[in-house]
């Protein structure tokens, strides 16, 4: 199950507190050293190395690295995999400077260089496979609310799964600098219930006609 949002939150929930804790410990140690060092009138006798201590410390750090990697790897594996039978497959073609989103029945939504792109719908609670490519340079398909992005390369297909658990509007941006109108290369997805999605898809397909 490629649940990008929960994978991010899970790893963040472990990494960020550790980072903040380490920062706090080092700052506290630094402050103690500074206050004591400022009071001293001459350097006190001190050893110039403590090899056994440093080796033990390096082993401790190695342990921390192992824990971090275990958290990262277990969270990453499902993100890099695509489901064998996704509920829906959407083709996304990026170009300077537009997004073209195409559904299996031929319905399309195209957003051309705008901050107010037309909304494309996706169903909630199921695996949606994105099949992405680019027509010219590298673009980045980024949904900040899902904490997920992938790059689309010219002449190459990028596949990944997304899951929208919460209904609502998802802003999308091009994350990879792609030239002049990179700032305006937005797209928008709205996650709705599968039933509403089917209804929309049918009516949208009939409106857009037989899309190319």
């Amino acid at each position: 199950m490629a649940d990008t949002l929960h994978a991010y939150r899970h790893v963040q929930g472990i990494y960020f507190p550790i980072a903040i804790g380490v920062f706090a410990v080092i700052i506290a140690a630094l402050l103690v050293l500074l206050v004591r060092g400022a009071r001293r009138s001459r350097p006190a006798a001190a050893r110039s190395q403590a090899l056994a201590f440093e080796v033990a410390y390096a082993l401790l750090l190695t342990g921390v690295v192992a824990v971090l990697l275990w958290v990262t790897f277990t969270a990453e594996t499902p993100l890099d995999r695509t489901a064998a039978h996704p509920a829906l497959q959407i083709k996304v073609t990026a170009a300077q400077w537009s997004w073209r989103i195409e559904y299996p029945n031929g319905a399309t939504v195209t957003a051309v260089s705008t901050w107010h792109p037309p909304v494309a719908l996706v169903p909630t609670g199921v695996e949606v496979e994105i099949v992405g490519t680019s027509r010219d340079v590298i673009h980045g398909f980024w949904l900040p609310q899902l904490h997920f992005q992938r790059q689309f390369l010219p002449g190459y297909v990028t596949r990944f799964d997304l899951r929208f658990d919460t209904a609502g509007l998802y802003d999308g941006e091009c994350s990879v600098f792609c030239g002049d109108q990179h700032s305006q290369m937005h797209f928008q997805l709205r996650a709705v219930s599968p039933a509403m999605f089917q209804q929309w898809l049918f009516s949208h397909a009939s409106r857009t006609g037989t899309a190319r």
């Binding site: 990008t4 500074l34 350097p43 110039s48 990697l69 990453e76 600098f177 700032s183």
Partner: protein, 533 residues
């Protein structure tokens, strides 16, 4: 001691043709600092644009601004100034009369000047300067998407500057390995010299990959068929980042070395954990050659877990270096000079850059943060709030050696306070904006995002940084005019550069003290105190 060397203000022509490593290094430092000011002006323009809701420059001019800002700061400022510090101080710290290959080092200076002028002359062409980011990545940088001579001038400029840097690294490396004074074994070399040694190893091994990548890009632009399709783009980035990550450490190690020297001197004690620190540096350098594709996690074309493993493993050598820096403060008698304040700020602020680096080394987190302002904040905390603070620590520490005059401590402290406030006001909000979805390299953003307030804070911060840099220039000018003589050793230094006059004579030393450890001058002082007791 004799001072046949002319002061820094010597005729520029003589400086530009000199084979004295000290003059070459000062000229290189001055050229790099001029590029730092130029790159800083571009940053001010970019920040004005983002605070003023995109109203200052057009979109394509903004693309030129951030491309040239990044290119200038990396290729023309941080790397050259790091290597220039090595060019000046490594021969002095190992007790050598000269750098190895002085004419080669001089060529490096000319390549830097030529390369910088080539890159910047893009602004004079009708199509403007290069605008494909400091990575110059294909296919955006090919002849179809980036036509015009600005891009060509950028390619040649970067190649020239990089070639010069490889030459410098070769000279400094050969000096440390082959020109050491009698008694100066490898394991008695000062911490800064060791940091330069690993820096030069990285430069020699990694920088040719950039020249190769740019040569391929040039061939692609003129003949095509070299970097084709999606995998051509991947191959360019493999080569680019094979350079592009080690270069980050080239812009880090020398400043850690400087901070190490400053911390030891102003703690009045021997550097703690010397041999562990050297082993950590070597391990750090070796590992840093294996992490490059963590810049490519979101491409889906590399083995993310391998690069995540190597990148996260950097925690071990980095942790040891931090332990040794803090250990050097332990039981010392601290003197809070300007140099020491900058070194402390380096330790605190680089830590923020380092810890957030571990965060983006985790692919599930990087998928959410890559290419956002979170990453911009991360690397500015390492490069500016970290390395540039380390550089200023080095400048305040070594300026008396370079010129024979002390910098004003009063102006120095003011400079420090302003730049510390400015740097944090500029770069900390970027963590928040990046997490909220602000992409890097955008010239404007929808007001509905609510990002403008923090962007205004950042821009004000940049203004404070600019003010502090002006204050630094005033300090240099004032201190050179109303000279307060520094003498040979104003700080109670521990390494050989303090055993000669300020500035040192043409061939550096008239006599050398005995060398029995990595802190020979401290040995002498301790022996004297022992005799008196």
């Amino acid at each position: 001691m004799n001072t046949t060397t002319l002061p820094v203000r010597a005729a520029p022509l003589r400086t530009l043709a000199s084979t004295d490593h000290k003059r070459i290094a000062i000229a290189a430092g001055a050229v790099a600092f001029a590029f730092f000011l130029a790159g800083g002006v571009l940053a001010l323009l970019m920040r004005s644009q983002l605070a003023a809701d995109g109203g200052v420059v057009s979109q394509n001019v903004y693309d030129e601004l951030f491309t040239m800002h990044g290119s200038t700061m990396v290729y023309l400022f941080m790397v050259p100034v790091a290597l220039a510090a090595g060019l000046y101080f490594v021969p002095l710290q190992v007790g050598a009369a000269e750098v190895a290959g002085p004419r080669v080092a001089l060529a490096g200076l000319w390549l830097l000047v030529g390369g910088g002028l080539s890159m910047w002359s893009g602004f004079l062409t009708s199509g403007g300067a290069a605008a494909a980011s400091w990575w110059g990545f294909d296919p955006l940088s090919d002849s179809l998407h980036s036509p015009g001579s600005g891009m060509e001038l950028w390619i040649f400029g970067v190649m020239m500057a990089t070639a010069g840097q490889i030459l410098w690294a070769g000279c400094v490396l050969a000096t440390a390995l082959r020109r050491r004074a009698p008694g100066m074994t490898l394991m008695r070399m000062p911490v800064f010299t060791w940091s330069m040694l690993v820096t030069c190893l990285l430069t020699v091994f990694a920088f040719p990959a950039l020249i190769l990548a740019l040569a391929l890009l040039w061939a692609q632009r003129h003949f095509g068929g070299v970097l084709t399709g999606g995998l051509g783009a991947v191959n360019y980035q493999q080569l680019f980042w094979f350079y592009g990550h080690p270069v980050v450490y080239v812009m880090f190690f020398p400043f850690v070395g400087m901070v190490g020297e400053v911390v030891a001197t102003f703690s009045g004690r021997r550097f703690f954990g010397y041999s562990a620190f050297i082993v950590a540096l070597l391990a750090f350098a070796g590992l840093s050659m294996t992490v490059w594709a963590h810049h490519m996690f979101t491409m889906g074309q590399v083995t993310n877990k391998y690069f995540s493993l190597t990148s996260t493993a950097l925690v071990v050598p980095a942790g040891i270096e931090y332990l040794d820096l803090l250990g050097t403060l332990w039981r010392g008698r601290l003197r809070f000079t300007t140099a020491f304040l900058f070194a402390l700020a380096f330790i605190v602020q680089f830590l923020i850059g380092g810890l957030t680096g571990i965060i983006v080394a985790s692919p599930p987190l990087d998928y959410g943060l890559n290419m956002s302002y979170f990453v911009v904040a991360h690397f500015h905390y390492t490069l500016f709030a970290g390395s540039a603070f380390g550089l200023f620590a080095g400048v305040y520490y070594w300026f008396p050696k370079l010129t024979g005059a002390l910098l004003s401590e009063r102006l120095g402290r003011l400079h420090f306070i302003l730049i510390a406030i400015g740097a944090n006001a500029t770069f900390f909000p970027m963590f928040i904006l990046g997490s909220e979805g602000m992409t890097r390299r955008i010239a404007r953003y929808p007001v509905s995002t609510g990002w403008q307030t923090l962007n205004v804070v950042e821009t004000v911060g940049t203004g404070v940084i600019a003010l502090s840099v002006l204050l630094f220039i005033v300090n240099v000018v004032v201190s050179l005019r109303s000279r307060r003589e520094a003498g040979d050793d104003p700080w109670g230094g521990q390494t050989l550069e303090w055993a000669t006059s300020s500035p040192p004579p043409r061939h550096n030393f008239t006599r050398l003290p005995p060398i029995a450890s990595y802190a020979p001058l401290l040995d002498l002082r301790e022996a004297r105190e022992g005799a008196n007791a």
